[in-house]
Point group: C2
């Protein structure tokens, strides 16, 4: 009986990962972090996605990032498309993925789950250094040493382009759920269409040559935005 | 101008580290985590210690561990002196140090501080795997890859016995602050004297042949407990 825990943001990549996990493991659970993100709408998306996939869904709150402030995702700053002076996006929340994955591992530890799945991706990526394979490999080691555990952090999308991820999602039957996933950094529905996250999503579907089910399938959604 | 950030729990080891940092760096700041610990009294100790040392003190709250539950430090469980079935103390909070150090690094990142100091110790230690050098080394790498930073995590007490730590604290002039540090897991003042943390502290002072300033120096403290 192989169990896995998927870190589910409610976005397209983690939704695809959830379906990947369903194809690989006997039991799949999901965990979502409520960390004061401006796009709170993704919490609703995550819940809906887990419901469509028929898996259990846990929400863990983290109040710390908001107190740290200093970035456009958890503080009152406008999302910028250009990079900051440090060559990182102004949506970069230092340590966010390290913290998410570590808390997910702590939760998994308590549930005797040894397989974690996260949708981080290095190809066509968002510019966050903690989405890269080297960070994940080092973190996996730190977690296993620090918890005396044997966790495996799976990153099925790491080396895929956005277009390849979309084709994988289609093959895995994830499109009904993908119609409810949320991507827009500005937390808008319909999506704003011009933030870096919207642009990356749109580029992916264009390159895959498939319409985004968020636009084509979701009931009551206007066809143009 | 070398700046350091000390992870200050308010206990004897982090208090000693704070004085070590004062001897090594031009500017020292401290950070304490309010994570729902049953020994909330240590937050007061940390504040008092930072005040005596004359350094700035930041408190960051983390509400997540309480929601995770399952251990004797953040949930309603009695602190046990014997180990659990997994050979770990029942006060083990999975991922606690990983999370603390990562949040401290995120804070340091924002303050342009590159030196972190933590009082973890592998010799005479409390049985927590995330206090060991291998965990810290892996975590330092994960943090630096994940934040594109060049943080150094200093662990001056890593290979010292408790007795050696106490002699170091004396040499560094930390005893006035140490009188206000807090160790007891049961959050009691005067300390309960029988939890694993109290026993470890007492053993250290006995071996160093020096009276604990918490007992000998602190005004109004009963001489016997």
């Amino acid at each position: 009986m192989k169990k896995a825990l998927v870190v589910l943001s409610g976005g397209q990549d983690s939704t695809t990962c959830l379906y990947w996990a369903l194809s690989q493991f006997d039991e799949v659970q999901s965990i979502t972090f409520d960390y004061g993100q401006r796009h709170k709408i993704e919490l609703k998306s995550a819940k809906k996605v887990a419901e469509i996939a028929g898996i259990s869904h846990h929400v863990l709150s983290i109040d710390t990032f908001q107190k740290l402030g200093g970035n456009a995702l958890t503080a009152e700053q406008e999302v910028k498309n250009e990079l900051n002076d440090n060559n990182l996006p102004n949506t970069f929340v230092p340590g966010r993925n390290l913290i998410f994955i570590t808390f997910a591992a702590a939760f998994a530890y308590q549930q005797q789950i040894q397989d974690l799945v996260t949708g981080v991706c290095q190809t066509d990526y968002s510019g966050y250094p903690d989405c890269r394979q080297n960070t994940i490999t080092a973190l996996e080691l730190a977690i296993n040493l620090g918890m005396e555990s044997q966790m495996k952090i799976h990153t099925p999308l790491m080396w895929m382009t956005k277009a390849e991820t979309i084709l994988l999602a289609e093959k895995l039957g994830a499109f009904d759920a993908l119609a409810w996933s949320h991507t827009c950094y500005n937390g808008q529905y319909p999506p704003c269409g011009h933030c870096p996250a919207c642009e990356l999503r749109e580029k992916g579907f264009q390159e895959a040559g498939i319409p985004d089910p968020l636009l084509s399938q979701r009931a009551g959604f206007p066809q143009k935005h």
